[in-house]
Protein backbone atom coordinates (compact mmCIF):
# COMPACT_ATOMS: atom_id res chain seq x y z
CA UNK A 1 0.00 0.00 0.00
CA UNK A 2 1.59 3.33 -0.96
CA UNK A 3 1.38 6.20 1.50
CA UNK A 4 -1.15 8.26 -0.50
CA UNK A 5 -3.62 5.37 -0.58
CA UNK A 6 -3.71 4.80 3.18
CA UNK A 7 -7.25 5.64 4.38
CA UNK A 8 -7.75 8.24 7.12
CA UNK A 9 -8.61 5.70 9.76
CA UNK A 10 -5.18 4.06 9.35
CA UNK A 11 -2.54 5.81 11.39
CA UNK A 12 0.05 6.34 8.67
CA UNK A 13 2.48 8.45 10.69
CA UNK A 14 3.18 8.32 14.40
CA UNK A 15 5.57 10.35 16.56
CA UNK A 16 6.65 7.37 18.67
CA UNK A 17 5.90 4.37 16.48
CA UNK A 18 7.09 5.85 13.19
CA UNK A 19 5.54 5.29 9.77
CA UNK A 20 3.05 2.48 9.25
CA UNK A 21 5.21 -0.51 8.28
CA UNK A 22 4.70 -1.89 4.79
CA UNK A 23 2.61 -5.02 4.97
CA UNK A 24 1.23 -7.40 2.36
CA UNK A 25 -2.47 -6.89 1.58
CA UNK A 26 -5.01 -9.68 1.74
CA UNK A 27 -8.59 -9.49 0.53
CA UNK A 28 -11.44 -10.48 2.79
CA UNK A 29 -15.16 -10.38 1.95
CA UNK A 30 -17.38 -8.39 4.29
CA UNK A 31 -21.06 -9.09 3.56
CA UNK A 32 -19.87 -10.31 0.17
CA UNK A 33 -17.96 -7.13 -0.68
CA UNK A 34 -14.18 -7.32 -1.12
CA UNK A 35 -12.20 -5.35 1.42
CA UNK A 36 -8.44 -4.83 1.73
CA UNK A 37 -6.83 -5.92 4.98
CA UNK A 38 -3.25 -5.98 6.21
CA UNK A 39 -1.79 -9.47 6.58
CA UNK A 40 -1.53 -10.45 10.23
CA UNK A 41 -4.12 -8.04 11.60
CA UNK A 42 -7.33 -9.17 13.31
CA UNK A 43 -10.62 -8.93 11.41
CA UNK A 44 -11.72 -6.15 13.79
CA UNK A 45 -8.85 -3.88 12.71
CA UNK A 46 -9.62 -4.35 9.01
CA UNK A 47 -13.31 -3.51 9.57
CA UNK A 48 -12.56 -0.44 11.70
CA UNK A 49 -10.13 0.78 9.02
CA UNK A 50 -12.87 0.35 6.43
CA UNK A 51 -15.26 2.41 8.56
CA UNK A 52 -17.61 -0.45 9.51
CA UNK A 53 -19.49 0.59 12.64
CA UNK A 54 -21.88 -2.34 13.12
CA UNK A 55 -20.41 -5.85 13.48
CA UNK A 56 -23.60 -7.65 14.46
CA UNK A 57 -27.18 -7.25 15.71
CA UNK A 58 -28.50 -8.91 18.84
CA UNK A 59 -31.64 -11.03 18.82
CA UNK A 60 -33.62 -7.87 19.59
CA UNK A 61 -31.95 -5.97 16.74
CA UNK A 62 -29.64 -3.81 18.80
CA UNK A 63 -26.31 -3.01 17.07
CA UNK A 64 -22.91 -4.03 18.44
CA UNK A 65 -19.31 -3.38 17.41
CA UNK A 66 -16.41 -4.17 19.77
CA UNK A 67 -15.79 -3.48 23.42
CA UNK A 68 -12.58 -4.95 24.91
CA UNK A 69 -10.52 -5.57 21.77
CA UNK A 70 -8.58 -8.39 23.42
CA UNK A 71 -10.85 -11.40 23.30
CA UNK A 72 -12.50 -11.13 26.69
CA UNK A 73 -16.06 -9.88 26.16
CA UNK A 74 -17.44 -11.46 22.91
CA UNK A 75 -19.03 -8.16 21.83
CA UNK A 76 -17.28 -8.39 18.46
CA UNK A 77 -18.43 -11.86 17.37
CA UNK A 78 -19.36 -12.38 13.71
CA UNK A 79 -19.93 -15.26 11.32
CA UNK A 80 -16.56 -16.12 9.79
CA UNK A 81 -16.37 -18.66 6.96
CA UNK A 82 -19.78 -19.92 8.00
CA UNK A 83 -18.94 -20.30 11.68
CA UNK A 84 -20.94 -18.02 14.00
CA UNK A 85 -19.65 -16.53 17.25
CA UNK A 86 -16.05 -15.95 16.13
CA UNK A 87 -14.28 -13.21 18.14
CA UNK A 88 -13.06 -10.91 15.39
CA UNK A 89 -10.68 -9.01 17.68
CA UNK A 90 -8.42 -12.02 18.18
CA UNK A 91 -8.91 -13.79 14.83
CA UNK A 92 -6.45 -12.96 12.08
CA UNK A 93 -7.58 -12.11 8.55
CA UNK A 94 -6.83 -14.66 5.86
CA UNK A 95 -6.92 -14.32 2.07
CA UNK A 96 -10.47 -15.02 0.87
CA UNK A 97 -12.02 -15.06 4.34
CA UNK A 98 -15.79 -14.47 4.41
CA UNK A 99 -16.98 -12.23 7.24
CA UNK A 100 -20.68 -11.68 7.86
CA UNK A 101 -22.69 -9.60 10.29
CA UNK A 102 -24.34 -11.96 12.70
CA UNK A 103 -28.00 -11.78 13.71
CA UNK A 104 -28.56 -13.00 17.26
CA UNK A 105 -26.49 -16.10 17.90
CA UNK A 106 -26.20 -16.73 14.17
CA UNK A 107 -26.28 -20.12 12.48
CA UNK A 108 -23.76 -22.56 11.08
CA UNK A 109 -23.38 -22.89 7.33
CA UNK A 110 -23.71 -26.36 5.83
CA UNK A 111 -19.98 -26.63 5.09
CA UNK A 112 -19.01 -25.40 8.54
CA UNK A 113 -21.35 -27.93 10.10
CA UNK A 114 -19.67 -30.68 8.11
CA UNK A 115 -16.30 -29.50 9.40
CA UNK A 116 -15.07 -28.16 6.06
CA UNK A 117 -14.76 -24.54 7.06
CA UNK A 118 -11.47 -23.29 8.37
Amino acid sequence: MSADKIPDSRIARHAVLGDLPVQKDVTIYFEGKPLKAREGEPIMAALVAAGVTVFRYTKKGSPRRMFCGIGRCTDCVMTVDGVPGVRTCVTEVRQGMRVERQQGVGSWSVQAEAGHAQ
Partner: protein, 366 residues
Protein backbone atom coordinates in the same frame (compact mmCIF):
# COMPACT_ATOMS: atom_id res chain seq x y z
CA UNK B 1 14.62 -32.81 29.15
CA UNK B 2 14.31 -36.24 30.64
CA UNK B 3 12.10 -38.70 28.82
CA UNK B 4 8.41 -38.79 29.71
CA UNK B 5 8.80 -35.74 31.94
CA UNK B 6 5.84 -33.40 32.05
CA UNK B 7 6.71 -29.82 31.09
CA UNK B 8 5.82 -26.70 32.99
CA UNK B 9 2.97 -25.10 31.07
CA UNK B 10 2.67 -21.32 31.14
CA UNK B 11 -0.67 -19.86 30.04
CA UNK B 12 -0.46 -16.29 28.75
CA UNK B 13 2.52 -14.76 26.94
CA UNK B 14 2.29 -11.27 28.44
CA UNK B 15 5.19 -9.84 30.45
CA UNK B 16 4.47 -12.16 33.40
CA UNK B 17 4.21 -15.39 31.39
CA UNK B 18 7.19 -14.56 29.17
CA UNK B 19 9.43 -13.95 32.19
CA UNK B 20 8.26 -17.14 33.92
CA UNK B 21 9.01 -19.18 30.78
CA UNK B 22 12.40 -17.49 30.34
CA UNK B 23 13.49 -18.37 33.91
CA UNK B 24 12.36 -21.98 33.49
CA UNK B 25 14.11 -22.39 30.17
CA UNK B 26 17.30 -20.73 31.42
CA UNK B 27 17.43 -23.31 34.21
CA UNK B 28 17.04 -26.08 31.64
CA UNK B 29 13.48 -27.11 32.58
CA UNK B 30 11.03 -28.21 29.87
CA UNK B 31 8.46 -25.47 29.30
CA UNK B 32 5.55 -24.79 26.94
CA UNK B 33 4.15 -21.26 26.66
CA UNK B 34 0.63 -20.86 25.25
CA UNK B 35 -1.23 -17.72 24.17
CA UNK B 36 -4.45 -17.26 22.23
CA UNK B 37 -3.07 -14.31 20.28
CA UNK B 38 -1.14 -14.50 17.02
CA UNK B 39 1.68 -12.53 18.63
CA UNK B 40 3.17 -12.78 22.11
CA UNK B 41 3.56 -9.79 24.45
CA UNK B 42 0.13 -9.46 26.04
CA UNK B 43 -0.61 -5.83 26.82
CA UNK B 44 3.05 -4.73 26.49
CA UNK B 45 2.97 -3.77 22.83
CA UNK B 46 0.25 -1.19 23.38
CA UNK B 47 2.25 0.59 26.07
CA UNK B 48 4.19 3.13 24.07
CA UNK B 49 4.90 5.46 26.99
CA UNK B 50 8.07 5.45 29.07
CA UNK B 51 8.06 3.43 32.27
CA UNK B 52 8.74 4.83 35.71
CA UNK B 53 11.12 3.41 38.31
CA UNK B 54 14.87 2.93 38.46
CA UNK B 55 17.31 2.06 35.70
CA UNK B 56 17.16 -1.59 36.69
CA UNK B 57 13.44 -1.51 36.14
CA UNK B 58 13.81 -0.27 32.63
CA UNK B 59 12.54 3.17 33.55
CA UNK B 60 12.57 5.48 30.56
CA UNK B 61 12.16 2.50 28.25
CA UNK B 62 8.87 2.15 26.42
CA UNK B 63 6.70 -0.92 27.04
CA UNK B 64 6.88 -2.15 23.46
CA UNK B 65 10.69 -2.05 23.53
CA UNK B 66 10.66 -4.20 26.68
CA UNK B 67 8.32 -6.53 24.81
CA UNK B 68 10.76 -6.78 21.91
CA UNK B 69 13.62 -7.59 24.32
CA UNK B 70 11.62 -10.34 26.02
CA UNK B 71 10.65 -11.83 22.66
CA UNK B 72 14.25 -11.81 21.46
CA UNK B 73 15.32 -13.58 24.63
CA UNK B 74 12.61 -16.22 24.39
CA UNK B 75 13.55 -16.85 20.75
CA UNK B 76 17.24 -17.08 21.58
CA UNK B 77 16.48 -19.60 24.33
CA UNK B 78 14.29 -21.60 21.95
CA UNK B 79 11.18 -21.66 24.13
CA UNK B 80 8.29 -23.75 22.77
CA UNK B 81 5.82 -20.88 22.24
CA UNK B 82 2.42 -21.96 20.96
CA UNK B 83 0.46 -19.02 19.60
CA UNK B 84 -3.19 -18.92 18.50
CA UNK B 85 -3.59 -21.52 21.23
CA UNK B 86 -6.41 -20.90 23.65
CA UNK B 87 -6.51 -22.80 26.91
CA UNK B 88 -10.16 -23.65 27.48
CA UNK B 89 -9.98 -26.04 30.40
CA UNK B 90 -7.90 -27.54 33.16
CA UNK B 91 -8.66 -30.95 34.56
CA UNK B 92 -7.48 -31.96 37.98
CA UNK B 93 -4.18 -33.74 37.78
CA UNK B 94 -3.12 -30.78 35.66
CA UNK B 95 -4.29 -31.79 32.24
CA UNK B 96 -4.39 -28.64 30.14
CA UNK B 97 -6.98 -28.54 27.38
CA UNK B 98 -5.97 -26.33 24.45
CA UNK B 99 -7.64 -25.33 21.18
CA UNK B 100 -5.23 -24.42 18.42
CA UNK B 101 -6.16 -22.11 15.57
CA UNK B 102 -9.90 -22.63 16.28
CA UNK B 103 -9.67 -26.07 14.68
CA UNK B 104 -7.45 -28.46 16.65
CA UNK B 105 -8.14 -29.54 20.20
CA UNK B 106 -5.68 -31.45 22.38
CA UNK B 107 -4.67 -32.01 26.00
CA UNK B 108 -1.22 -31.85 27.52
CA UNK B 109 -0.18 -32.92 31.01
CA UNK B 110 1.64 -30.27 33.02
CA UNK B 111 4.24 -30.91 35.70
CA UNK B 112 3.68 -27.38 36.96
CA UNK B 113 1.15 -24.87 35.72
CA UNK B 114 1.78 -21.13 35.66
CA UNK B 115 -1.28 -18.99 35.02
CA UNK B 116 -0.45 -15.55 33.59
CA UNK B 117 -3.77 -14.72 31.98
CA UNK B 118 -3.82 -11.00 32.84
CA UNK B 119 -6.86 -8.87 33.58
CA UNK B 120 -10.10 -7.73 31.97
CA UNK B 121 -11.23 -4.12 31.92
CA UNK B 122 -14.36 -3.21 33.81
CA UNK B 123 -17.56 -2.13 32.11
CA UNK B 124 -19.83 0.70 33.23
CA UNK B 125 -23.49 0.52 32.52
CA UNK B 126 -25.52 3.58 31.50
CA UNK B 127 -28.25 4.07 28.90
CA UNK B 128 -26.64 3.57 25.51
CA UNK B 129 -23.51 1.81 26.76
CA UNK B 130 -23.92 -1.05 24.29
CA UNK B 131 -23.93 1.31 21.27
CA UNK B 132 -21.09 0.83 18.80
CA UNK B 133 -18.52 3.49 19.70
CA UNK B 134 -18.53 2.75 23.42
CA UNK B 135 -15.44 0.70 24.28
CA UNK B 136 -12.86 0.20 26.97
CA UNK B 137 -9.83 2.49 26.95
CA UNK B 138 -7.63 -0.57 26.44
CA UNK B 139 -9.62 -1.47 23.33
CA UNK B 140 -8.89 1.96 21.83
CA UNK B 141 -5.25 1.65 22.96
CA UNK B 142 -4.94 -1.74 21.25
CA UNK B 143 -6.49 -0.40 18.04
CA UNK B 144 -4.26 2.66 17.76
CA UNK B 145 -0.93 1.37 19.05
CA UNK B 146 -0.96 -2.25 17.93
CA UNK B 147 -3.23 -2.30 14.89
CA UNK B 148 -2.70 1.32 13.87
CA UNK B 149 -6.36 2.17 13.21
CA UNK B 150 -8.39 4.95 14.80
CA UNK B 151 -11.73 3.85 16.24
CA UNK B 152 -13.11 7.41 16.12
CA UNK B 153 -12.32 11.09 15.71
CA UNK B 154 -13.73 12.75 18.83
CA UNK B 155 -13.39 10.95 22.12
CA UNK B 156 -14.84 11.20 25.62
CA UNK B 157 -12.63 9.50 28.21
CA UNK B 158 -14.46 8.23 31.29
CA UNK B 159 -11.99 7.86 34.18
CA UNK B 160 -8.91 9.91 35.02
CA UNK B 161 -6.70 7.13 36.42
CA UNK B 162 -3.44 6.08 34.79
CA UNK B 163 -5.06 4.11 32.00
CA UNK B 164 -7.50 6.98 31.29
CA UNK B 165 -4.90 9.73 30.99
CA UNK B 166 -2.29 7.58 29.23
CA UNK B 167 -4.77 6.39 26.61
CA UNK B 168 -6.22 9.91 26.20
CA UNK B 169 -2.73 11.17 25.42
CA UNK B 170 -2.03 8.27 23.06
CA UNK B 171 -5.31 8.90 21.22
CA UNK B 172 -4.15 12.46 20.59
CA UNK B 173 -0.76 11.18 19.44
CA UNK B 174 -2.64 8.98 16.99
CA UNK B 175 -4.55 11.94 15.59
CA UNK B 176 -7.86 11.92 17.48
CA UNK B 177 -9.38 14.79 19.44
CA UNK B 178 -10.22 14.26 23.10
CA UNK B 179 -13.34 16.27 23.98
CA UNK B 180 -13.00 15.76 27.75
CA UNK B 181 -11.78 13.48 30.52
CA UNK B 182 -14.39 12.98 33.24
CA UNK B 183 -13.91 11.60 36.76
CA UNK B 184 -16.60 10.56 39.25
CA UNK B 185 -14.40 11.27 42.27
CA UNK B 186 -13.74 14.86 43.40
CA UNK B 187 -10.03 14.53 42.46
CA UNK B 188 -7.98 13.26 39.54
CA UNK B 189 -6.51 9.77 39.80
CA UNK B 190 -3.57 9.40 37.41
CA UNK B 191 0.17 9.96 37.51
CA UNK B 192 0.87 13.72 37.48
CA UNK B 193 3.18 13.65 34.45
CA UNK B 194 0.62 12.03 32.19
CA UNK B 195 -2.29 14.12 33.47
CA UNK B 196 -0.28 17.32 32.96
CA UNK B 197 0.53 16.40 29.35
CA UNK B 198 -3.15 15.97 28.51
CA UNK B 199 -4.12 19.20 30.30
CA UNK B 200 -1.40 21.16 28.53
CA UNK B 201 -2.90 20.00 25.24
CA UNK B 202 -6.05 21.86 26.24
CA UNK B 203 -8.30 18.92 27.12
CA UNK B 204 -10.89 19.84 29.78
CA UNK B 205 -11.00 17.64 32.90
CA UNK B 206 -14.26 17.47 34.87
CA UNK B 207 -14.19 16.01 38.39
CA UNK B 208 -17.33 14.90 40.29
CA UNK B 209 -18.81 14.20 36.88
CA UNK B 210 -20.34 11.12 35.31
CA UNK B 211 -21.79 10.00 32.03
CA UNK B 212 -25.59 10.03 31.99
CA UNK B 213 -26.15 8.42 28.60
CA UNK B 214 -24.79 7.80 25.13
CA UNK B 215 -27.01 8.76 22.19
CA UNK B 216 -27.04 7.82 18.53
CA UNK B 217 -29.01 5.76 16.01
CA UNK B 218 -26.63 2.93 15.13
CA UNK B 219 -23.48 4.25 16.82
CA UNK B 220 -22.44 6.98 19.26
CA UNK B 221 -23.25 10.51 18.06
CA UNK B 222 -23.09 12.33 21.39
CA UNK B 223 -22.65 11.87 25.13
CA UNK B 224 -24.54 13.53 27.96
CA UNK B 225 -22.51 14.18 31.12
CA UNK B 226 -23.51 15.79 34.42
CA UNK B 227 -22.06 16.79 37.79
CA UNK B 228 -22.73 14.48 40.71
CA UNK B 229 -23.15 15.17 44.40
CA UNK B 230 -21.32 13.57 47.33
CA UNK B 231 -23.61 10.53 47.03
CA UNK B 232 -22.74 10.14 43.32
CA UNK B 233 -26.25 11.29 42.30
CA UNK B 234 -26.51 13.50 39.17
CA UNK B 235 -27.34 17.12 39.96
CA UNK B 236 -30.31 18.28 37.84
CA UNK B 237 -29.56 21.18 35.53
CA UNK B 238 -25.83 20.39 35.19
CA UNK B 239 -26.14 18.25 32.05
CA UNK B 240 -23.78 18.98 29.18
CA UNK B 241 -23.89 17.53 25.71
CA UNK B 242 -20.60 16.54 24.08
CA UNK B 243 -20.38 15.82 20.37
CA UNK B 244 -18.30 12.64 20.31
CA UNK B 245 -18.28 9.48 18.21
CA UNK B 246 -16.36 7.39 20.73
CA UNK B 247 -16.67 6.89 24.47
CA UNK B 248 -13.76 5.18 26.20
CA UNK B 249 -14.21 3.59 29.61
CA UNK B 250 -11.19 3.56 31.90
CA UNK B 251 -12.86 2.41 35.08
CA UNK B 252 -10.53 -0.24 36.40
CA UNK B 253 -9.44 -3.80 35.72
CA UNK B 254 -10.44 -7.16 37.20
CA UNK B 255 -8.11 -10.20 37.28
CA UNK B 256 -8.98 -12.89 34.68
CA UNK B 257 -9.34 -15.73 37.14
CA UNK B 258 -11.40 -18.30 35.20
CA UNK B 259 -8.63 -20.87 34.72
CA UNK B 260 -7.50 -20.51 38.33
CA UNK B 261 -11.04 -21.36 39.41
CA UNK B 262 -10.98 -24.48 37.22
CA UNK B 263 -7.68 -25.44 38.86
CA UNK B 264 -9.46 -25.10 42.22
CA UNK B 265 -7.22 -22.31 43.50
CA UNK B 266 -8.66 -20.61 46.57
CA UNK B 267 -9.96 -17.13 45.72
CA UNK B 268 -9.79 -14.04 47.91
CA UNK B 269 -11.21 -10.52 47.60
CA UNK B 270 -8.75 -7.60 47.53
CA UNK B 271 -10.52 -4.47 46.22
CA UNK B 272 -7.33 -2.39 45.83
CA UNK B 273 -5.96 -4.93 43.34
CA UNK B 274 -9.11 -5.44 41.29
CA UNK B 275 -11.47 -7.70 43.28
CA UNK B 276 -11.45 -11.50 43.33
CA UNK B 277 -8.14 -13.21 42.70
CA UNK B 278 -6.36 -16.43 43.57
CA UNK B 279 -4.52 -16.31 46.90
CA UNK B 280 -0.78 -16.85 46.61
CA UNK B 281 2.34 -17.27 48.75
CA UNK B 282 5.70 -15.48 48.45
CA UNK B 283 6.72 -17.78 45.56
CA UNK B 284 3.48 -16.95 43.70
CA UNK B 285 2.12 -20.45 44.39
CA UNK B 286 -1.66 -20.66 44.69
CA UNK B 287 -3.46 -22.84 47.24
CA UNK B 288 -2.95 -25.62 44.66
CA UNK B 289 0.78 -26.15 45.17
CA UNK B 290 1.41 -27.14 41.55
CA UNK B 291 -0.25 -24.01 40.20
CA UNK B 292 1.39 -20.58 40.21
CA UNK B 293 -0.39 -17.29 39.48
CA UNK B 294 1.58 -14.28 38.22
CA UNK B 295 0.99 -10.79 36.88
CA UNK B 296 -2.43 -9.16 36.74
CA UNK B 297 -4.30 -12.39 37.57
CA UNK B 298 -2.66 -12.24 41.01
CA UNK B 299 -3.69 -8.60 41.54
CA UNK B 300 -3.71 -5.85 38.93
CA UNK B 301 -0.48 -3.83 38.95
CA UNK B 302 1.87 -2.95 36.12
CA UNK B 303 3.99 -4.62 33.48
CA UNK B 304 7.19 -4.19 35.52
CA UNK B 305 5.79 -5.93 38.61
CA UNK B 306 4.17 -8.59 36.40
CA UNK B 307 7.62 -9.41 34.99
CA UNK B 308 9.19 -9.85 38.42
CA UNK B 309 6.31 -12.00 39.65
CA UNK B 310 6.73 -14.16 36.56
CA UNK B 311 10.42 -14.56 37.35
CA UNK B 312 9.65 -15.56 40.96
CA UNK B 313 7.33 -18.34 39.81
CA UNK B 314 9.67 -19.49 37.03
CA UNK B 315 12.60 -19.74 39.45
CA UNK B 316 10.59 -21.62 42.05
CA UNK B 317 9.01 -24.00 39.55
CA UNK B 318 12.44 -24.78 38.02
CA UNK B 319 13.70 -25.58 41.51
CA UNK B 320 10.65 -27.69 42.38
CA UNK B 321 11.14 -29.68 39.17
CA UNK B 322 14.74 -30.38 40.13
CA UNK B 323 16.45 -28.02 37.68
CA UNK B 324 17.96 -25.63 40.21
CA UNK B 325 19.85 -26.17 43.46
CA UNK B 326 18.65 -24.71 46.75
CA UNK B 327 21.38 -22.09 46.94
CA UNK B 328 20.77 -20.68 43.43
CA UNK B 329 17.03 -20.65 43.98
CA UNK B 330 17.43 -18.68 47.19
CA UNK B 331 19.82 -16.11 45.70
CA UNK B 332 17.69 -15.56 42.59
CA UNK B 333 14.49 -15.37 44.62
CA UNK B 334 15.94 -12.79 47.01
CA UNK B 335 17.22 -10.65 44.13
CA UNK B 336 13.83 -10.73 42.42
CA UNK B 337 11.99 -9.91 45.63
CA UNK B 338 14.30 -6.94 46.20
CA UNK B 339 13.41 -5.55 42.77
CA UNK B 340 9.70 -6.15 43.36
CA UNK B 341 9.82 -4.31 46.64
CA UNK B 342 11.57 -1.34 45.02
CA UNK B 343 8.80 -1.21 42.42
CA UNK B 344 6.12 -1.06 45.09
CA UNK B 345 7.19 2.30 46.50
CA UNK B 346 5.86 5.82 46.10
CA UNK B 347 2.26 6.90 46.60
CA UNK B 348 0.83 4.46 44.06
CA UNK B 349 3.21 1.62 44.91
CA UNK B 350 2.70 1.68 48.65
CA UNK B 351 -0.98 0.89 48.47
CA UNK B 352 -0.23 -2.09 46.25
CA UNK B 353 2.61 -3.15 48.57
CA UNK B 354 0.27 -3.14 51.57
CA UNK B 355 -2.37 -5.12 49.68
CA UNK B 356 0.20 -7.70 48.55
CA UNK B 357 1.45 -8.09 52.13
CA UNK B 358 -2.13 -8.75 53.17
CA UNK B 359 -2.38 -11.55 50.59
CA UNK B 360 0.78 -13.20 51.93
CA UNK B 361 -0.45 -12.88 55.51
CA UNK B 362 -3.74 -14.55 54.53
CA UNK B 363 -1.83 -17.47 53.04
CA UNK B 364 0.18 -17.93 56.21
CA UNK B 365 -2.99 -18.01 58.29
CA UNK B 366 -4.70 -20.55 56.06
Amino acid sequence: MRNDEKPAIVVGAGPAGLCAAIELKKAGAPVVLMDENAKPGGQLFKQIHKFFGSQEHKAGIRGFDIGKELLAESLRLGIDVRLKTEVVGIELGLKVWAVEDRTKSYTLDAGKLILATGATENALSFPGWTLPGVMTAGCAQTLINVHRVLPGKRILMVGSGNVGVIVAYQLMQAGAQVAAVIEALPRLGGYGVHTAKVRRAGVPFYCSTTIIRAEGAESVERAVIASIDAKFQPIPGTEQILDVDTICLAVGLTPSIELSCLAECKQIYIPELGGNMPAHDEYMRSSNQSVYVVGDIAGVEEASTAMEEGRLAGIHAAWAMGYMDDQTMKIKTDETRGRLQALRQGIFGQKRFAAKERILAMRKDA
